[in-house]
Symmetry: C2
Subunit: 346 residues, 2 copies
């Protein structure tokens, strides 16, 4: 039986209970609860007393206890496969942001691409009674579903689930490819080449398809005879550009499958004394700021809107928590970021 001496202990914050508040306000616990939660059945005067007491004790309700009763923890799990990779981060920020404004907190779990670790984290999260899950994959290709019989709604972001019964949110890479080429065409380019990354990535294929579609609509051929697939690196951007220029010296635009590749492209164009954008326009993909903004000239690029994707995932999940969840794959439109590598000031 400690006499709750408030003067001696340093812990003035956060550890008083509703019982303390009630006692100080001279009411019952039930009334205190109702007063603080804006329940109507309490007199204004009483409510004021309680609120005053709560503030004096800097009371904050124990969310664990609340969760136990309401059967809702007010938390969600964010299960990512590669935190290191740059794509998770904006998604994660968007989700955290969207939840933050509701009173939901986010558990972050990084599986590091390891299935075992993923299952481990999944168990832990379910044990913590999360209200839902967002699964962020490492690359934009289908990944194994977590399964159908989970007690909480799950949304797959960036990497779609391989089970069509799940709900997945992905970026529209075909649309991104179209958007890039469309921009080049609008600016009068006609001999457009495409250098991209690892062809085993669905995203690489999709972007190329979008590009070809748009070219086809205009009756234009793809310059350089082929899509130059390779790797997602500056080195490949450099190598491919050299080969491309040999094969087809008078291209007037290059659509790079990533900003990294675009940097390599720019590098070689400089060496070859080809002016950007006057002679050759260059457009990238990803809007990876550090690369795009610092490029010479700054790089026009396609932004996948990943933060919006994250926010959308959060919203979908939130409304699924007490409703029911859809299924299938939903796409998020990318957007064009115009900088100087394509747009001569007119």
């Amino acid at each position: 039986m400690e006499p709750a001496s408030s003067a001696d202990g340093p812990r003035t914050t956060g550890r008083s209970t509703l019982r303390d508040v009630a006692k100080l306000a001279g009411v019952s616990i039930a009334t205190a609860s109702k007063a603080l939660n804006n329940q109507p059945q309490v007199r204004a005067e009483t409510r004021a007393k309680v609120i005053q007491a709560a503030e004096q004790l800097s009371f904050s309700p124990n969310t664990l206890a609340q969760g136990l009763i309401t059967q809702r923890s007010g938390t969600v799990g964010l299960l990512t496969s590669d935190l290191e990779g740059r794509f998770s981060i904006p998604i994660l920020m968007g989700a955290e942001d969207a939840f933050g404004s509701d009173q939901t907190s986010v558990f972050l779990c990084d599986a590091r691409g390891d299935t075992l670790r993923e299952r481990h984290h999944l168990r832990a999260l379910l044990s913590r009674r999360v209200d839902g899950l967002i699964v962020v994959g490492a690359r934009p290709d289908a990944r194994p579903s977590l399964g159908r019989d989970l007690p909480v709604p799950v949304i797959y972001a960036y990497s779609p689930s391989d089970d069509p019964a799940d709900l997945s949110l992905v970026t529209d890479n075909v649309g991104g490819g179209r958007l890039a080429v469309d921009h080049l065409i609008r600016h009068g380019r006609r001999r457009i080449a495409h250098i991209s990354g690892d062809p085993s990535y669905g995203a690489a294929q999709d972007r190329a398809r979008g590009a070809l579609d748009r070219l086809g609509e205009e009756g234009l051929p793809l310059a350089g005879d082929q899509v130059w697939f390779g790797a997602w690196s500056e080195a490949w951007g450099r190598g491919a550009t050299r080969m491309l220029l040999q094969r087809d010296p008078d291209i007037d635009a290059i659509f790079a499958g990533s900003d990294e590749i675009a940097r390599g492209v720019l590098d070689v164009l400089h060496q070859e004394k080809l002016a950007v954008p006057t002679q050759v326009a260059v457009i990238g993909f990803d809007n990876w700021n550090i690369l795009a903004v610092n490029a010479r000239p700054p790089l026009t690029t396609i932004d996948m809107n990943l933060e919006a994707l994250g926010r959308l995932a959060a919203q979908r999940l939130f409304s699924a928590i007490d409703g029911t969840l859809g299924s299938g794959v939903e796409t998020v439109a990318p957007r064009l970021i115009t900088r100087e590598s394509t747009a001569p000031l007119d």
Copy 2:
């Protein structure tokens, strides 16, 4: 043995309680708890029955209820100021990793550099009864303390707290500067210049100091007459290098305050036909892979060991949770990453 109609109900996972397990096993709740928690006062045979029942129902204990009793939620808060910035991420990964192996989960909160939002998140985290907090700042300079009267231990990572009573973990930037210059000296360089970023950053000053210290020990002057402070950008790297070469054309090494700056440096050295590393060696700072690995040639650089810093923060916090926390500023040693921009293959 038993059909247990697994086909009809979808929720086979996660929502059964200890009571269900006990009933199925034909024991009391108390016994079930003891059996599952390896308490000794239960017969092996009974324990087996309980475990079998728990598995059949895929029981997982409600952590909220456990936390209510044990007065320990098994969670910590990770309060970051800029998730976007690249420095938070590795720290966060390290912390998440270190906690993951214990059974602690991490709440991620991004204050976006906004004090108000930070306080909001702090309240929320305390309400969730986190067992501790790690605060990750946006830049490596002192930041306001969260206060002394928090009911849980707090550790400041990357940005130290301005209150010396708090415990802060930071990178040793002076040591990093020493390390960089030491490496150059060991490889026979004598005319070493230093180009760095925004001089209002403590890190910029510290790295410069470390560099100068090490030069002084060797009796060497700083080439280029001064430390070239400017901005943390490629553009400044380029500009400073041009000016530097004009002032002092026969330097044989440049220590760049960041990898971004180093990229700019390399760019201009190329233009000026100065061979790297044979004529001029270049060393960066940060080991930001995307920049360092893709550089021509790949960039030797200093890695701040941020992931280790995150892990250390987690460990310190973990041991502080039931003990007491130290105070002051503790530094983490950086390490040298050798690539081709300084080391001619000998």
